[in-house]
Symmetry: C2
Subunit: 173 residues, 2 copies
DNA sequence: GCGAGATTGTTACGGCCATAACAATCGTCG
DNA sequence: CGACGATTGTTATGGCCGTAACAATCTCGC
């Protein structure tokens, strides 16, 4: 009985209980909206914690650091302000992350010829090797997480998430 | 042209570019796995930041604090260890969160009769009022986020997320 | 009974992140 | 050309979170 496994998980048991309780409440309450938001945030949190503890921390790094290096791997040397935009992070968070990565010799800063304010962060040789290795492991782990869905279901999930992202509320930062 | 709106968003433009780049790479790379994990984590991050900045911070609180109080609202007085289990948080994080909430008079700790180690955290009258008000606002905001999907699509999304959660990899913490 | 092992809550420490303020630089308009 | 506004990167400060270590307490088997 595979179902039993999930029912015994305290987090899923709580989610089911909360949904039932909200179903008995008047109008502002919305069991469906709650369940959707809860499962989205909860799954994301578990995946983040899992990638961090299984892949990146054992190698001495962090998931945010990897995600930044991965972008540099695909994009080449990039300015902190651009990285902040596509990562939905503040510029100061990018500065701090680059400081950490530079301290470990994975990333280096170079001046930008046309703009004396700007700096471009780029991978070092060590950094590129690090990204390639961690990327292979992270891909395997991501595949494990979603292996319970077939290819069509995974495509549907990706599509629904992408559509919600594309229709983000107007005044959302 | 509504499509143009999303294409101009740097984060979605990057995601599409990355997926294409990975499609041209050999075996360990998996464009579908990347796209799924990226959109899941990115959407979750945006929703968290949005709820935090639009609803909870203006009221002087935080999203993690609200999520804890919401659980106490449904469950009644609860031990930190139970809260940590269902929230996938460490016990020390729960302790710190309760400290903050207690300092603001929203939560209080009481001894547990049968176990002299244990403590139960419960909402104060102020805390319960705070939860009810923030809950109504948060529900509205969640509805806005997912309004672009119809009811059936939202149900599908919730179902897919729940199934991934239920099938969490064996060695995931 | 009682002692080994598990559980509970807490604290110390370090990492990531946001906001706000700042200096330096760029772009543009009069 | 010169000044105002916008942009860039950084720093300081504070919040949340995890790991590790700790004392107190409970549980269970001998």
């Amino acid at each position: 009985m595979r179902k039993t496994l999930s029912v015994d998980r305290p987090d899923l048991r709580y989610a089911a209980y909360a949904r039932d309780r909200l179903a008995g409440m008047p109008s502002p309450a919305d069991p469906e909206a709650f369940a959707l938001a809860y499962h989205l945030l909860h799954l994301s949190y578990l995946v983040v914690a899992d990638l961090e503890s299984h892949i990146h921390r054992p190698r001495g790094w962090t998931l945010p650091g990897f995600r930044l290096m991965f972008k540099l791997w695909l994009l080449g040397p990039t300015q902190p302000a651009r990285l902040a935009e596509i990562s939905a992070m503040s510029r100061s968070a990018v500065t701090n992350a680059i400081n950490t990565l530079e301290r470990e010799g994975l990333v280096e800063r170079r001046p930008v010829p046309d703009d004396r304010r700007a700096v471009a962060a780029g991978l070092t040789a060590r950094g590129e090797k690090a990204v390639r290795e961690a990327f292979a492991e992270q891909t395997r782990r991501e595949q494990q997480w979603f292996a319970t869905l077939d290819a069509e279901e995974r495509a549907t999930l990706t599509d629904l998430l992408t559509r919600v992202l594309a229709a983000r509320p107007e005044d959302a930062d």
